[in-house]
Symmetry: C2
Subunit: 384 residues, 2 copies
Amino acid sequence: MIKSRLLAPGPVEVPPAVLEAMARPVVHHRSAPFKELFARVRTRLAEVAMVPGEEVLVVTGSGTAGFEAALLAAVPAGATVLSLHAGKFGERWADMARRFGFRVVVVEEAWGRAIDVDRVRDVLRADPQVAAVTTTHSETSTGVLHDVERIASAVREEAPDALMVVDAVTSLAAAELRPRAWGLDVVVSGSQKGLMVPPGLAFAYLSERAWRRSDELARRGALVPGYYLDLRRERERQAQDQTATTPAVSLIAGLDAALNVLLDEGVEAAWERRAALNEALLSAGEAVGFGRYAERPSPAVAALRTPEGIDAGEVVRQLAKAGIRIGAGQDAAKPHLIRPSVLGYADRFDVVTLAAALEDAVRALGGEAPFGRAAGAALEALAG
Amino acid sequence: MIKSRLLAPGPVEVPPAVLEAMARPVVHHRSAPFKELFARVRTRLAEVAMVPGEEVLVVTGSGTAGFEAALLAAVPAGATVLSLHAGKFGERWADMARRFGFRVVVVEEAWGRAIDVDRVRDVLRADPQVAAVTTTHSETSTGVLHDVERIASAVREEAPDALMVVDAVTSLAAAELRPRAWGLDVVVSGSQKGLMVPPGLAFAYLSERAWRRSDELARRGALVPGYYLDLRRERERQAQDQTATTPAVSLIAGLDAALNVLLDEGVEAAWERRAALNEALLSAGEAVGFGRYAERPSPAVAALRTPEGIDAGEVVRQLAKAGIRIGAGQDAAKPHLIRPSVLGYADRFDVVTLAAALEDAVRALGGEAPFGRAAGAALEALAG
């Protein structure tokens, strides 16, 4: 018997209560029970996003849908967007912005590196046209947590009118994220990561300033048109605990259950727990020859460079044979990067499991890994 | 104790096997088991849509998302779109087309009426610029099944180059729908109607001709840009049993289970069953003073005009008190229209239940309804 374990940086394993909620009979989205559920979910979602009392909009779609909806709601057509990227998702937002006709200026770093705030300052000084700066917070493809707080502060100083647009898809409920204190204008996330819900929902927060900007642009007809992903219409409907089109009600029921689990622990406690688990996982990897890939590790994923001579695809396959699904390296990082993760419904024993599986894989692939070394390193890190 | 029953024209009650599938642990969308599931689902979805062997694309989002994706993939920016409408959803597609900058010409009929094919011919003769004709098949707001076969044939004769774009959100698996035989170019549907899955997935079929058109327009850069709802990218990825962004895997697992139920019965048998059940429901309503609202009734919903002096909102509330959720009338039809439906996981006893509830409501609201008259009419209609 091989037991299945989902230990990738999203989709993640979800709590049993979430699965149970998903299995409940469908509730009509125009009914009073749904409105009640939706109000409760959005209120608590705003707490998780550290913007209590404000509106976090729910979109049926992937994180990409949420990012698109938010970008088009807040940034004027044809404007200059400064896209910070150092991995696959950062690149995606640049591609998206180009596709919609924005002028895109890029600050690019090598995979594994964090965005250099000084370079951001230089570009903003040289290009005062920038209307929005987009960045990922936790870059899932490289395991790097970009320093969004410092980036946002630099943007405020150099380009006070530019909106700060943040992809927090894998960082929400996983890493410290304080939109108000940090002055973030747009924050987007998704259900299948730190919130521990199956994929299919995206979340979008716009600051008061971003909404004012949006209102003004809409009056002038200066926004790129959207229909399904029209956040302005969603804002109007969701203020009435409704949605503009039929939402994925079962996923929203699942989210309600997940928020119970998350808020029972507390958001800040979840940040700490996840950082500690991920750090232990990185230590476990290091103990058997893997290297840290990310300059500034995100708690959402343990990006590990494989030991010399060991192919990352082979490691992923070894773990898959043992029933464990982790993230593989993407694009150019494919041969030497693996991305296990304890972002989901996971605890320290999942870290030990992954540590043991990494040991197994190294041994199976001809490397050296004394029995218990990775597991021991994980346990020691967690005891510390 | 009050038992809850969802008997609205979508979302609908779903089979227990679908709920059970939704409750299974999350499967990673890049894993082999997901690819296998997704391939099986799409193959059978094409069978249900009567286009076996062709590609029906799956989008995470509402039916509106699917319609937008298909419209933008097939119709050149700024082109003339002839929008046929006789209800809320037809209007929505006209609004959407306008929003994206298409020139929109309209053939409008009163709510409850079917689209007049001769008027469509007249407009097409007068306006040879029309690049696409959009219509709903089953107009959920009025309960009318538009004669898409005849409309499509008229479009082919009068404007051979115009694409025929059909909203089959509530008609798929509910009413006869033969995209190939009828020459439909685009067919869009959603999960929460005849397919008996919770909301959150949309489906889009493009004919070979529509894809050729799309390819040619893309080469010329003549399409309205989309990113999340880019069907061209989805076509490429879904041919490899993948999706461009993370899909709602749990809903796809639910869809797999629903397709088992649907294909066990057979699509044509489901059309017949649903038409018979809906006809019986209309007869039941008539037996206690309701009138048929739709000129050409769709099997997806029994649109019933309330008896003189009885407010539709009150009827909806009476049924809600008994635990039964039906569709209310929308917009101007609100005071006099109700929309019960046996589109979902429903059989003849659900029709009898609705018949009894309608009787109850009429009696409670001061109307006349001998005990068993509506239920009897339903049973008689079903015996016929």
